[in-house]
């Protein structure tokens, strides 16, 4: 419990530092947003008027304090370009990014678990080497390259799946999933290798344990030993990694959403970067950091659920 409190405090400080540094960075942006809002040929007075209206003349610290106050009351500011409420803009788009991330993680796990088990079963065996080679190749393949190749083969070559676009869930599950397959796959093809390697290493260690030898002595089939007895105790590091990968995946979705034209938070951020809409950039970064911290927290809970030792230890004190 004390440890949990310590971690919570630490997370709060981390969030504070993140938002403050982004605020500083975004506010020393060379392109003054007031100039852009006023248009190309506006007079100095007009620019100054906008600046006053936005309160850009006041010290950065004061504006930061105001902004933090706003965040706690649900007011994340308004986009300077589209006049959209930042919080609404993010929450409108987040489900799309979230769906993409979940699908990608799911596909990555679907590849990593069988591959990890197969290569841990006989380390340095034939299957292990083939899987290791595949992992090496796909880790050398950044997601945007995988995306291009997948589009080339499955969308342009074979014509099975659409190359870009997004359909809301309201137009049917399959219609919604179909354009999501290629983006999720291109993210998953990078992520699975790390999951697979972690699972492999831990499983090799677990397979040396006495209770595995006992299960084997009882005449249990290899498949049952691997799936029932070895998989759960081997998956702790992988679960931790799933949480840590959220940050990587959030970064990954940015570029994938851009390629496949998916209207998620990543595209919002990229668009804000291109138009220097700094209150939106600030909101997105804060949101990403929040998501990362929350994911880590959820991982801790999942940990307790997976490992009875932590759970009962917590219950007794």
């Amino acid at each position: 419990m004390r440890y949990l409190l310590y971690r919570l405090r630490r997370l709060a400080i981390v969030l504070g530092v993140v938002t403050f540094i982004t605020f500083l960075l975004v506010n020393v942006l060379p392109g003054d947003v007031a100039y852009q809002m006023a248009g190309m040929d506006s007079s100095e007075e007009e620019v100054q008027a906008i600046r006053d209206e936005l309160g850009l003349g006041r010290p950065v610290l004061v504006r930061y304090a105001e902004w933090v106050g706003g965040v706690f009351t649900g007011d994340w500011g308004k986009s300077f370009i589209s006049d959209e409420n930042v919080w609404d803009a993010i929450t409108d788009r987040f489900p799309v990014s979230f769906e993409l991330m979940i699908l990608a993680q799911f596909l990555a796990l679907a590849m990593a678990i069988p591959a990890g088990i197969a290569s841990a079963f006989r380390p340095n065996g034939r299957a292990d080497r083939i899987i290791g080679g595949l992992a090496f190749a796909s880790v050398s393949m950044p997601s945007f390259m995988t995306a291009i190749l997948l589009i080339f083969v499955f969308a342009l070559g074979l014509g099975w799946l659409p190359a870009t676009g997004y359909e809301p869930l309201s137009s049917g599950l399959w219609a919604n999933l179909r354009p999501m397959i290629l983006p999720a796959l291109s993210l998953a093809l990078v992520e699975w290798t790390i999951l697979m390697r972690t699972l492999r290493v831990e499983m090799i260690a677990v397979l040396q344990e006495n209770y595995i030898a006992l299960a084997r002595a009882k005449g249990m089939s290899n498949l049952r030993i691997l799936l029932v007895h070895a998989l759960r105790p081997s998956s702790f590091s992988m679960i931790t990694l799933l949480g840590l990968q959220v940050a990587r995946l959030l970064g990954g979705t940015i570029i994938i959403e851009q390629i496949f034209g998916i209207p998620g938070v990543g595209r919002l951020l990229i668009h804000a970067v291109y138009t220097r809409d700094f209150i939106v950039i600030q909101g997105c970064v804060t949101f990403f950091a929040l998501a990362f911290v929350t994911a880590n927290f959820l991982v801790d809970i999942a940990y307790a659920w997976l490992d009875p030792r932590i759970r009962t230890g917590g219950a007794h004190g």
Binding site: R10, I13, V14, L15, V17, V18, I21, T22, L25, V26, V28, L29, P30, F136, A137, V139, S140, M141, P142, S143, F144, M145, I148, L149, I151, F152, L156, A247, R248, L250, G251, G252, I254, I255, Q258, I259, L269, I270, V273, R276, I281, C284, V285, F288, A289, F292, V293
Partner: protein
Amino acid sequence: MADVSSSNRGTAQAKPEIDRNALAIALHRKSRSFGPFFWIPMCWLILVAIACIFAPFWGLPPADEIDWAYIQSPPVEGHPLGTDNLGRDMLSRIIWGGRVSLTVGFAAPFIGVGLGMILGMIAGYYRGWADEVIGILIDAWLAIPGLVVLLLFSVVFGGSLFMVCVSLGLLFIPTAARITRAATLNYSGREFVLAAKAMGASDFRILRKEIFPNIIWPLIAFILIDIPIAIVIEGALSFLGLSVKAPTPSWGGIIAEGREVLETMPHIAMYPTIIMFLTVLCFNLVGDAIRRRLADVREGAI
């Protein structure tokens, strides 16, 4: 080393059934020498490096010269890899783009690991509040996805090659600092450090002469891992058009241009993709082989 292993292998093959232990030992020796999975990638990397470093001397058309006779052309004479959608020579663009990728690939990890090492040594050696502050900064740094940090930096500081190297290098600080901190903690309690302290050596001298030589190897292995990562991230950044500015070619940028005409002219996107994939793969293979060689590195590498 090479003679010994080959002679051992020779004897083992001549009379294989005499001593199985000898065979095992011989095979073990053999596996310790760099195999083809080191030398073939190494050759490719050297080829790419020579092509990029001496790019001005190959007599290629300049990377931004438009050949109006061949626009979006497949490979023809004079343009061995064809031309892109503006009629610029692909081979020349890929080679000049490689200069950007390789520069960033080597510079960024060195900058990041250098800074991370300094922070890690301070945190691990002095402990106390310095450790706490650096720890919080690292956690904060890790809480933002790397690409987002780069987006921010590219907007704030613009797209010069130098700034791309620096901001990419910043990404490697957290992990490098953590590795260094753990190693410094480990060594700063050892007897030889205490002895140096007892003899009145300054903190700086201890860090430089006693601790640094011990922690440098895991960090070198870490740099080797980071080179392909840096190339990949630079690719992603220039794919988004946020790396070096537009007329300067870069691999990610060429792929992004080729994406728009993927259906009609797939070669524009495919050639840089293949070259970049091979280069990154080879860096990974070479780095992995060297990392295995640095035996005591294993504990430090991630």
